[in-house]
Every structure is written in structure tokens, then in C-alpha cells.
């Protein structure tokens, strides 16, 4: 039966269903137990599965990630929550030096099936350190998979796939879309593998590359482009940032000959840089214009009153689409 589901509810349901289906799955972090998480993503999991399977930890991100490694080594499937993007950094060393590398260091004898959930991105008027987009750090780290859903249905399916993955996954949740509602059947039948990109909307003139919170913005931009400019955008939702689904990306750019990448994270060495590099390597002779990037500025994330000037929006995307079309 189709029901109206928010992304937050879809994520909660995914955690619930994985915990139900696999005793080894543990959910823990700051405030995830009785409170159900500051965004309620872990709502009622403790009541349903008990304090041994869903529990609050001391307030220490390195501790949460480092003990996750130990729990995974023991044979559990930890799903730790980082409360906010900007609070992930104390756990940086555990994620980068240990979780990402352990399999490789052990010559493949040890797997670490753990999923680090991180609410990320801006647009909710939050206080400092609560709106960051740190995906490049994790994408740059060999040994981690990095995925991010843009819709409630993907949130459900991709989180379940991430938890089932034998490799460690950084699961980035676009927090401004937590309350986005759709009518959807859960579980989704035959979900697409989380490593694959998806053409959200076919088009002919420009490929618009988006992920996470920018999926919806990109689709809005496509509607506006069609209506206001008579331009047809093909919206490609990457879904997985590492590995990148080059086949879907490159096939689209070869069709349109133009590529505009959108993300909230700052410009320099953001995902857009990597997309631009891959596109020019793999679709050079098809390009009619340079790959352009619509991103946050190379400044610290701004105070809430200024975030609308900082974040990419439909207008900024359309400006860059027009610029691409002028070549």
C-alpha cells in the first residue's frame, strides 16, 4: 500500500528493517536511544530492539568510530551516527587511518562492514558547524564507499544496501530533505544498486549533475529551464560519490555535449573538480563547452542569515546553464 513517507521516516524504517533482519546490526551514537536522535532517525529503535542493539554512547566522535571498528572486528555490523557533519572531524583519524585502511592492511583477511551515518549540508538555518558538506574528505580516502540519497525511496533502499555492504560506507543524509514527503511503497521493489547513478529526468541540451540535497534543487531547475528558457536539462543523480558511476555520467554527457555540476560543498577540490576531470578525460570529443561548477563559495559556511546567498539555488544553476549554452 502506498503511503506518504518523509526521508526521515524512510531512513528510520530502513534501520528498523535491517535490525529486524540481521541480529548483528547495532545502532549507536549520541542521543540515538531514548530520544531517537536529534532528527528522530532512530526513533523507537531502542524500544523495539532493546538497549543492547540501539544505545547512547558518551559524547565522543572518535570514540564512536573507533569502537565501531572493534565491534565490526568482533562480528557486529555497526551503524554509528555522527550527530552533525561538523562534529565528524574528531573522528577523522579513526575513519581515515583505521576504518578505511584495515582491510587493505590485513591483506583482505578482515572486513569491516560498518556504516557511518552523517546528516550533512545546509539550508536549515542552523548554527555554526551544523551545515557542512565534508564529502570530499571521505571520497578522497581509499577504502571508503560514499553514498548519498536524494529521495525518500533512495534513502530507504540505499541505507539498507549500505548496511549490507561488506565495505565501510559513509552514508551522507541530506538533512534539509529529511522532511521531504513522497508517496512510496516501502520496501521498494528491485532497488537500483547504491553504486549506480540514475537519470532523474531525461533531457537533451545540458547534463546537470547533482546528488544529495541538490537532487530536488536540480529537478526544480530543470522545470524552470524548460518553462523559462525552453532548455532541456538531463538531471543525473550520482547517488554514489565513491565509486563514481562513470558509465551513466559519461553516456549522458555524450548525448548532451554539456555538463554542469551542482553541489553545496565549496568549489575547490569539491566533487565538481573530479567530475570535470573525468568528463574531459572520457568525453572530450563530445564536449561543446567546458564543464561548469555551481557550488558553495570557497569561504567557511556562512551564518544562517547569509546561507541563501551562499547555497546554490535554481537561479544560480540557470545562470550557469545559460553560460554553458553560450559556448
Amino acid at each position: 500500500m502506498t503511503a506518504t513517507v518523509t526521508m526521515a521516516q524512510a531512513l528510520n524504517r530502513a534501520l528498523h528493517d535491517e535490525m529486524r533482519d540481521d541480529d548483528r546490526v547495532l545502532v549507536f551514537g549520541e542521543d540515538v536511544g531514548r530520544l531517537g536522535g536529534v532528527f528522530r532517525i532512530t526513533d523507537r529503535l531502542q524500544a523495539t530492539f532493546g538497549e543492547e542493539r540501539c544505545f547512547d554512547t558518551p559524547l565522543a566522535e572518535s570514540g564512536i568510530l573507533g569502537t565501531s571498528l572493534g565491534l565490526a572486528l568482533y562480528g557486529f555490523k555497526p551503524v554509528p551516527e555522527m550527530q552533525f557533519d561538523g562534529f565528524t572531524y574528531p573522528g577523522f583519524e579513526q575513519l581515515v587511518s583505521h576504518i578505511a585502511k584495515y582491510r587493505n592492511r590485513s591483506r583482505g583477511t578482515v572486513q569491516l562492514p560498518l556504516t557511518v551515518r552523517i546528516p550533512y549540508g545546509g539550508g536549515i538555518g542552523a548554527v555554526e558547524h551544523h551545515s557542512e558538506s565534508p564529502e570530499s574528505y571521505w571520497v578522497h580516502t581509499a577504502g571508503l564507499k560514499v553514498v548519498t540519497p536524494g529521495t525518500p525511496a533512495d534513502a530507504y533502499s540505499m541505507l539498507r544496501q549500505a548496511i549490507q555492504s561488506p565495505d565501510p560506507v559513509v552514508f551522507l543524509e541530506p538533512k534539509r530533505r529529511y522532511w521531504m514527503k513522497v508517496d512510496v511503497d516501502l520496501p521498494v521493489a528491485d532497488p537500483q544498486p547504491m553504486e549506480q547513478a540514475l537519470v532523474r529526468q531525461p533531457g537533451t541540451d545540458v547534463t546537470l549533475v547533482v546528488y544529495g540535497p541538490m537532487v530536488r534543487t536540480g529537478l526544480e531547475a530543470a522545470a524552470a529551464a524548460s518553462e523559462d528558457l525552453g532548455v532541456s536539462l538531463e538531471v543525473v543523480d550520482l547517488r554514489s560519490l565513491n565509486p563514481l558511476d562513470e558509465d551513466t555520467l559519461i553516456a549522458s554527457v555524450r548525448r548532451t555535449g554539456r555538463c554542469v555540476v551542482v553541489h553545496e560543498a565549496s568549489l575547490t577540490l569539491g566533487m565538481g573538480a573530479e567530475i570535470a576531470a573525468r568528463v574531459q578525460e572520457l568525453a572530450f570529443y563530445h564536449l561543446e563547452a567546458p564543464v561548469l561548477r555551481v557550488t558553495g563559495f570557497d569561504t567557511p559556511y556562512p551564518p544562517a542569515k547569509l546561507e541563501d546567498f551562499w547555497l546554490p539555488d535554481v537561479d544560480r544553476i540557470l545562470d550557469f546553464v545559460e553560460r554553458s549554452l553560450r559556448y
Binding site: 565491534l71 564507499k145 565513491n242
Partner: protein, 408 residues
């Protein structure tokens, strides 16, 4: 202040209002968690065995000999590793000379199902676990980053970043408790590691979750060149335990029997569900921090000579002789094993095959993703001597050529 009234130190009546009681269970006096500054010692410098009510020895004659044997083998392999580094066979090596008793005694106290989480100086503990020391040294040779199966020996990968492994041990112990299995973890770290945040977070997690984890600090007096007095202003490292609600104990780390007995006590209380313990083993790093270090810049000959009089192996030898557990045949067997082990390590390191460059890509993910596959093919082409390496990796030029044909 001067003449002002002295506070009434006797008054310990509860205040009216919120509950100010200790978080420990009512029967536990926080003072019980504190260590004595004098470390627990069973064997004195002359090999005389004392007794300690709280830490009885449950070892048979054969165990006593085995402890000695492990220490001698460890020292010989350690010496061999230093030689191998001097001969250019190892890039660097961190010696455990002088710390054999702390490692052998503590590792020997564990049950087979228990897990050890080492830093990078735990050759002697690895020997107790029966790991091929040549496999442990591959990290230092640069062949690969480890060459033993952690699940086979219950010995986690060596951790070079400081104190990070404390959290792995705490998490693993949390897992054992959740699974309801009688598994204990023991984590090795140094005095310098207690300044790192991960030591604090691990101690706190282990205590909050009452995880069966033994924190075994080898206080060898120096973090490279920095003495302990510049790491902490606590009365001792073991005193830090009370801050987490776990007992702290100081033990003579050059006394293999005390190291054994105190670890046994800590691991059994962990196994009974009584939570973690912090053990500070007082020892001394007789060698440089690593073969790259020059300790003459920060410590004196006199200091070294002084600590040499506490040598753990000499002490145990005196004890065994005093107990009539020493016979020429035993001494010869130990000597044979030490010679055989160090010879084995020398041969294995000299003969270790060069790693296969393609293994670079083999273990990063369970299924190599396409971009890694392309980079692997690029390296393959380079190894075959074929053409210039393509910047994006692999058969990129082929891809671009195909595009050119398609478009033009």
C-alpha cells in the same frame, strides 16, 4: 582567607536537594580504585619471590620456564631485527629490549580466546601468541602492512598512530559483552599515548559499558625523547583510572611474575563482568625509540646502567636457579630455540619475495570498483613497458581514440 573559618571536613551528610551521590555502586569506595605508588612486585632484583595477597601466582614450574623462554627468544629476535635494519633489510624497527617481562607476563595471563590489541613494539607479546615474528616484521620491511591473520592469533593489526588501538580494544570488548561471550581484550600502549584523546575516550567507553578490557600501559619512561613528566601532572598513570571509575594498578614491568599476576587479576575481573582495569607497568626502553632515533641526545649512560640492574631476564634466571628449575638441558633448549627463531627471521626477511605491485589494488574493497580496475591496468601496462602512463589511468587513450572515431 587566613583566619577565616576552616570548612568542616567531617561533615559528609547529604545536602538537601539533588542527588550528589557517587555514580559507582554504593559498596565501592572510590579510594579503592587508586593505585599504590609503589608498584606491585613479586620478584625482587635478586630473584627472590615475595608474596602478594591480592595477586597470587597460579603458575606451574613449566609455566615459569615458559615465561623465561619467551623472554629470551623475544630478546634474541629483537636483536636480530635491529641487525636486519642495520643491514638494510628493514626500513626501521622499534625495539622492545628491556620490556620483555611486561609483555610476556601480561600476554601469558590471557586465555586463548582473548584478544590482544598491540601498538608497534609488541614483538614479545606476539611471540607468546605464537605468531611468526617474520610476519610481524614485514610491516617494518615494507613488504606489506601486516602478514598474519588477526583471527588466527587473536592479535589485532599493529597500530602505528598513537593510542588509536585503545578504542578498537574497547569496542571489541563491548562486542564480547553484548555477545555474552567470555572474551577479554588487552590493549598495549605507551606512556605518551595517555596524552592522546583516544586513550581518554577508550577508557571512558570501556568503563561506561563495563567492557571486559584491560588497558596495559608500558610506561617505558619516554615518548621518543619526551620524559613522562612532560606528558602528565597526574601522580601516576595508574591514578588516571579513578577518573573513569576503573581501578588503576602500578606493577613492576620488569618483573614477569608480577606483570602476569596483576594482568591475570584484571582479566579475570573483566571476565566476571566487573569492567575494565588500567595497569601501568613500570619499565624502561633500553634501546632507542626506533632504529632512526639517537637517545644519547636526551638520556645518560648512567640512567641506562641503572635500569640495566633491573633487567627482567637476569632476574628470572636467578629465580629459576634458586628454585632448582634451571638445568643445563633447559638452558641449552632455550638457547637452541632463540638461535633457531632468530635464524628463521633472518632467513625469512632476507628471502621475502618482493611484493606483487598488482596487490596494491587487491584489498582496498571487496569488489574493486571500475576506477581502481582501470588504474590496475595502467600499472600493468607500465610494468609491461607499454607506452606512457595515462594520467587518468588504464586504457584511457583507447577510450579517447574510440570517442574520436565516433565523433569525427
Amino acid at each position: 582567607m587566613g583566619d577565616s573559618e576552616e570548612p568542616d571536613r567531617e561533615a559528609n551528610e547529604p545536602h538537601e536537594g539533588p542527588d550528589y551521590r557517587s555514580l559507582l555502586d554504593p559498596d565501592t569506595d572510590p579510594a579503592e580504585l587508586l593505585p599504590n605508588l609503589q608498584p606491585i612486585r613479586l620478584l625482587d632484583r635478586n630473584g627472590q619471590l615475595g608474596e602478594h595477597e591480592a595477586y597470587p601466582l597460579d603458575l606451574k614450574d613449566e609455566d615459569l620456564r615458559t615465561l623465561y623462554r619467551h623472554m629470551v627468544v623475544a630478546r634474541r629476535v629483537d636483536r636480530e631485527a635491529i641487525n636486519l635494519q642495520r643491514q638494510g633489510q628493514l626500513g626501521v624497527y622499534a625495539s622492545c629490549l628491556g620490556q620483555e617481562a611486561a609483555q610476556v607476563g601480561s600476554a601469558y595471563a590471557l586465555a586463548d580466546q582473548d584478544w590482544i590489541f598491540p601498538s608497534y613494539r609488541e614483538l614479545a607479546a606476539g611471540i607468546v601468541r605464537g605468531i611468526d615474528t617474520a610476519g610481524m616484521l614485514q610491516l617494518y620491511r615494507g613488504t606489506w602492512l601486516s602478514d598474519y591473520d588477526p583471527y588466527e592469533f587473536h592479535f589485532a593489526l599493529m597500530a602505528i598512530p598513537i593510542s588509536t588501538q585503545c578504542l578498537h580494544a574497547a569496542g571489541f570488548a563491548m562486542g564480547a559483552r553484548l555477545a555474552g561471550e567470555p572474551v577479554v581484550t588487552l590493549v598495549y600502549f605507551g606512556d605518551g599515548a595517555t596524552s592522546e584523546g583516544d586513550f581518554h575516550e577508550a577508557s571512558n567507553f570501556a568503563a561506561v559499558f563495563q567492557a571486559p578490557c584491560v588497558f596495559f600501559c608500558q610506561n617505558n619512561q619516554y615518548a621518543i625523547s619526551v620524559p613522562l613528566s612532560k606528558q602528565t601532572h597526574a601522580p601516576s598513570i595508574a591514578h588516571k583510572g579513578v577518573g573513569y571509575g576503573m581501578p588503576g594498578r602500578r606493577v613492576d614491568g620488569n618483573d614477569v611474575l608480577a606483570s602476569y599476576a596483576v594482568t591475570k587479576w584484571a582479566s579475570e575481573r573483566a571476565r566476571r563482568g566487573e569492567g575494565p582495569t588500567l595497569i601501568e607497568a613500570l619499565t624502561y626502553r633500553m634501546e632507542a625509540h626506533t632504529t632512526s632515533d639517537d637517545p644519547t641526545r636526551y638520556r645518560t649512560r648512567e640512567e641506562l646502567d641503572y635500569w640495566a640492574t633491573f633487567d627482567p631476564i637476569a632476574r628470572m634466571e636467578k629465580f629459576l636457579k634458586g628454585r632448582d628449575l634451571w638445568e643445563d638441558r633447559f638452558a641449552a633448549a632455550v638457547e637452541d630455540e632463540a638461535r633457531e627463531q632468530s635464524g628463521h627471521v633472518r632467513d625469512q626477511i632476507y628471502d621475502a619475495p618482493h611484493p606483487d605491485p598488482e596487490e596494491l589494488f587487491a584489498h582496498v574493497y571487496v569488489e574493486p570498483p571500475p576506477h581502481l580496475e582501470r588504474q590496475r591496468r595502467q600499472l600493468q601496462a607500465e610494468l609491461a613497458g607499454g607506452g606512457e602512463p595515462a594520467p587518468g589511468g588504464g586504457d584511457l587513450e583507447g577510450l579517447v581514440d574510440a570517442q574520436r572515431r565516433e565523433v569525427l
